[in-house]
């Protein structure tokens, strides 16, 4: 608990120090106002009880009370306003930190469903954390000052009463603790089921699935799965709710019995003449109010704190996830525009898996050399590429860039790439390029030209480089081939020593494909480059070709050498070339 507070409070304050301070100032004044109002009311009632005997006192206290009531209204309004403001800022701050943290993690962890669950929960927790912070600060600025104020006031009249009242709240506190635990546990169990439910539903309407699901006539299949999943979720919720309610009622009975005793105590003091009748009325009404406010404090405030504690913990715990390297931010690129790359005895297996994807790979890419990697589906081509890039850390062996071991730091500061599943960023055209290397100024026009695109083309980019590339956000959509070119432009924009191209032509028509291969040829010329492809014709661009089979390099050499050698390479080549012969 303390650790969590220590973690999120500085973040919350840093999100907007001024607002944080102001809003809590109003929180404090609101708390004091409620307290003062209660005592003023007591004095006023006391005066009313003696009405006629001392007369004027009533008017004095009445006016004071009236003035305070109005002041309270105003303070309350300002409090609401500032709380709303500060909460928004805090949430944004929490999200930003979360993004930064995610950026410092190895991409390999995103392959694990368990981790994706955590990300999911953490981003949900960001909003909860804001509520948590405002509840905790509210506790200290509004409720505790009020309770202290009232405690001192009551203490002056009857000491036992104060302790008795505080004692009353032990069961209520205990209840909140149990409640928090019940809901946090339920949330943990529900997260996966919720993901399933959402997934099955998305199979029915998400553009990724809807066409096929419908044409297969299998909507009902996913609907059944959805309903099963929903049912399970609701049962989990039901169970948690029932347990929490039972606990709550049991504790409430204990509290109420105590409350009755306090009242009896009050009457007996009155009878014994320890308090006078005016104070009796005042204390009676303050005890009622104090009880109400303590109840609100414990059930409302502490209840809310306990209720979202689980979610907040999820948020905070995410930050404890081991990072790839200590400092975030950008990797410093190697100074040179051409780098050599060497793999020594590299093996790789996914964490929690004993299956070796890559086995004892030794490969040296010389400065300015282009290498092609070919092989069957599942031979480990993409994994090899990710290890070469430094995105995945090898389980064994070393990756050297320019002769230096990249180790845990990763080598991607010296690398640019077009991935097989390149991203289509729903951003402006310019941002789609700049995202590749955001803190460098480059000749955008030239880069676009190299990829066969131009922001001057009004048909494609009606608003030039500021065209939003997403219909969803009121812009326009590019075709598959155009996106592909943009991904290539992005890779060119990111001018680095080594270039990786992963099967980049899947969605491109023959004429454009040929054109692109020529682009590649030009891009790779004199550059250190690695191409992963199924198109043997494309592989020929490379100086040397690596044939990968079951995680091992089985052939390595130029096209001519490998063709002479026979084996896998010749088989691949012949099968594709046959389509274009005779």
């Amino acid at each position: 608990m303390l650790k969590i507070l220590k973690f999120i409070f500085p973040k919350a304050v840093m999100a907007s120090p001024g607002l944080f301070f102001t809003s809590n100032l109003f929180g404090l004044s609101t708390g004091l106002f409620i307290g003062i109002k209660t005592t003023l009311m007591a004095s006023f009632f006391n005066a009313v009880a003696h009405i006629g005997t001392q007369g004027d006192q009533v008017l004095f206290w009445g006016i004071m009370l009236a003035a305070l009531t109005l002041a309270d209204e105003v303070s309350n309004g300002l409090l609401n306003y500032f709380y709303d403001c500060v909460n928004r800022k805090t949430t944004a701050g929490f999200m930003t930190s979360l993004h930064e943290k995610a950026g410092r993690l190895s991409p390999i962890v995103f392959e694990r469903p368990e981790f994706l669950d955590r990300v999911n929960k953490a981003s949900k927790g960001a909003e909860e954390a804001t509520r948590f912070v405002s509840n905790v600060t509210g506790l200290f600025t509004t409720y505790i000052p009020y309770v202290l104020y009232m405690g001192i006031y009551l203490y002056g009249t009857d000491k036992i009463l104060v302790f008795a009242l505080l004692l009353l709240f032990l069961p209520v506190m205990l209840n909140q603790f149990i409640r928090g635990k019940i809901y946090a546990d339920a949330e943990d169990r529900a997260a996966r089921e919720r993901r399933k439910r959402d997934y099955y539903r998305s199979c029915i309407f998400d553009m990724e699935y809807v066409k096929e699901t419908r044409l297969l006539g299998k909507t009902y299949f996913f609907r059944n799965k959805f309903e099963d999943s929903l049912k399970k979720l609701l049962n989990m919720e039901q169970e948690a709710d029932r347990n929490a309610s039972l606990w709550k009622e049991a504790m409430a009975v204990i509290t109420l019995l105590g409350y009755g005793e306090v009242l009896a105590l009050l009457v007996s003091s009155l009878l014994r003449g320890e308090i006078e009748v005016g104070s009796f009325a005042a204390i009676f009404s303050s005890v009622g109010m104090m009880y109400g406010i303590l109840e609100e404090l414990v059930e409302g405030q502490l209840g809310a704190i306990a209720g979202n504690f689980g979610a907040v913990r999820n948020y905070v715990e995410f930050f404890a996830y081991p990072e790839k390297h200590q400092e975030g931010g950008k990797e410093e690129p190697h100074g040179c525009l051409e780098c050599s790359l060497e793999l020594k005895n590299v093996s790789f297996s996914y964490p929690d898996s004993s299956k070796m994807i890559l086995k004892d790979i030794n490969l040296s890419v010389k400065k300015g050399e282009t290498i092609a990697i070919v092989g069957e589906n599942g031979a480990g081509k993409s994994t090899l590429m990710k290890v070469m890039m430094g995105l995945y850390e090898p389980s064994d062996g070393t990756v050297l860039v320019e002769g230096t071991d990249t180790g845990k730091r990763g080598s991607y500061g010296s690398i640019s790439a077009v991935f097989q599943r390149f991203q289509r960023y729903h951003m402006t055209g310019e941002d789609n390029l700049v995202i590749g290397d955001y803190d460098k100024e480059r000749d955008i026009r030239g880069v676009m030209e190299q990829a066969g695109l131009s922001f001057q083309n009004e048909k494609l980019f009606p608003e030039g480089k500021d065209t939003m590339l997403s219909r969803e956000f009121g812009g326009r959509e590019l075709s598959g081939g155009q996106w592909q070119r943009l991904a290539i432009a992005r890779a060119i924009y990111r001018e680095r020593g080594i270039l990786f191209l992963d099967e980049p032509t899947a969605a491109i028509d023959p004429l454009e494909e040929s054109e692109l291969y020529r682009h590649f040829e030009r891009m790779c010329q004199g550059k250190t480059a690695v191409i992963v492809t199924h198109r043997m014709g494309c592989a020929r661009i490379a100086n040397r070709i690596v044939v990968l089979e079951k995680g091992k390099i089985v052939q390595l050499g130029t096209h001519e050498e490998l063709y002479q050698e026979g084996g896998c390479y010749k088989r691949y080549w012949d099968v594709q070339a046959a389509d274009y012969c005779g």
Binding site: V58, A66, R201, E212, V267, I435, E472, G474, A506, Y580
Partner: protein, 557 residues
Amino acid sequence: MTILINAAFVDQAMALFSQKAEVGDMVPALMGMLAILLWQNLSRTCLQYGEGVRERKLKETLQKAFLEKISNLEYRQLELSETQDLIQRVALAPEEHIKLTVESLEGLAILFLQNASVLWMVFLNVWWAGVFMIGGMVLLGILSLRAGGEDYQMQTHVTNEKRKLEYLSGVLLNKESALERTLFSYVPFVNGRYQRIFSQIYQKEKAVMKKWVIRGKTGGVVAALFAVSAMFLLLPGVKEGKMTPGLYISVITGVFSVINTITWNLEYHMKNLAKARAAIQDMTKFCALSQEQEEGEERVARKEMGNFESLEFRNVRFRYPGSGHDILKGVSFRLDAGKHYAFAGQNGAGKTTIMKLMLGLYPDYEGEIQINGKNRKECTRQEIRSLFACVWQDYAKYDVSVRENLCFDEKREEEELHAVLKQMGLMDTVEQLTNGLDTTLGRLDEEGTQLSGGQWQKLAIARAMIQASKGGRLLVLDEPAAALDPMAESRMYQGLGAFSKNEAAVFVTHRLGAVKHVDKIIVLEDGRVAEEGSHKALMERNGIYAKMYASQQEWYQ
């Protein structure tokens, strides 16, 4: 009730003190008070629990009902981003909106009941003060309601921006962009964009919140003034002995609690009610979206249509809704049973659109499409579906078991599934899986297995083969080999060739070499059929096809 008992308690205690009553008289009042508190507490818990039960029931019913509506929406509706937005906004958690409506109404009712008794008492003693207070509350209510409406308008205004925020957050947190995110190290850049958009939203929202507070608090101050005046106006009554001090204290405590609830709750409930009202409007809009007709079973439809015989496009023109130009500008061709066809052409020439039109995904087009000689517009969805088996370029990767990926809940012989998997070269992969055919794929489950792109594609093809295994369907394959290695591609085409020897099949691909043996190649250009004929004929013609073919051939020489 509470007020009366409290008053009795105070009065009796005072009476007791002045020796007018016995100690025993205190007991009923004290017990009564405790009983009321216990009752309040118990009923509150029961109410909450009951609300929970009701909420879950509602959740279940509504989520199911809305999903049913979604499943029946016209396909073209789903392609529109407005529809997807609407679904995200109202159809995934419809119970939230209903809950908001009910809660705010209920809250207002409770507020009203709580305050009505106090007001009644004020009214009994000084009637015009009561009237004033009621007037004040009504005024406050109207003001909050108006502000709520404005709030919603602002909300819809910033919804688009908020979606951008969510999108950027996704880019920074999701699995799909993990590789580029790390390699390009763009987190600070995208985070900067995130903060910029957040600030824009924040400025807009702040302005509305300011208005809110001013308006809400004007009402609150007015209400407080009424309370204060009631406080003074009732005083003379106490002085003259018309009202006991106990009752006065109780009434004033009540009046102040009215002010308290008004300050904290009335505004809140009214605001929510206004929000809910607007959300309900959205729901109404969603429910009014056009739906496809409910139809019978595919088996029945199949009997009606028989086997696939022919498909003909006659001068078909089509444009996407909202698009300024025709994507198809008068396309005519004919496909017959038992033959193989290929569509070729540049990106954007309209190949995928033709597939979607064939399959009845879009109802509006000009010209005529005939299936088995019957006008497509007169066929039901089921009838059309029963004649096709498709593999799409963007095939679906269902995160369910291998078996379910192949045949969902249909009963198929184990041997049949094995045979198809073998043909697709997937049998080895499946045998290595922990639970064979029943292994869950994807990332929904901890035990889930992830396939590579090529394996998924093979699975998608296998799915279509199983669907078509009984024959009589037109097999449509859109770029079926994009993710396959050369050997797998060759094996796939051989397998498909054997499988569909006497069946009709259409291949859409950029890899011209792979489909040159088909009976007829139809070359599309700019929304029209530019060339058609066998590979040999088209090569001799030396047109677009020949040019495309040569450009690929060049790389293999």
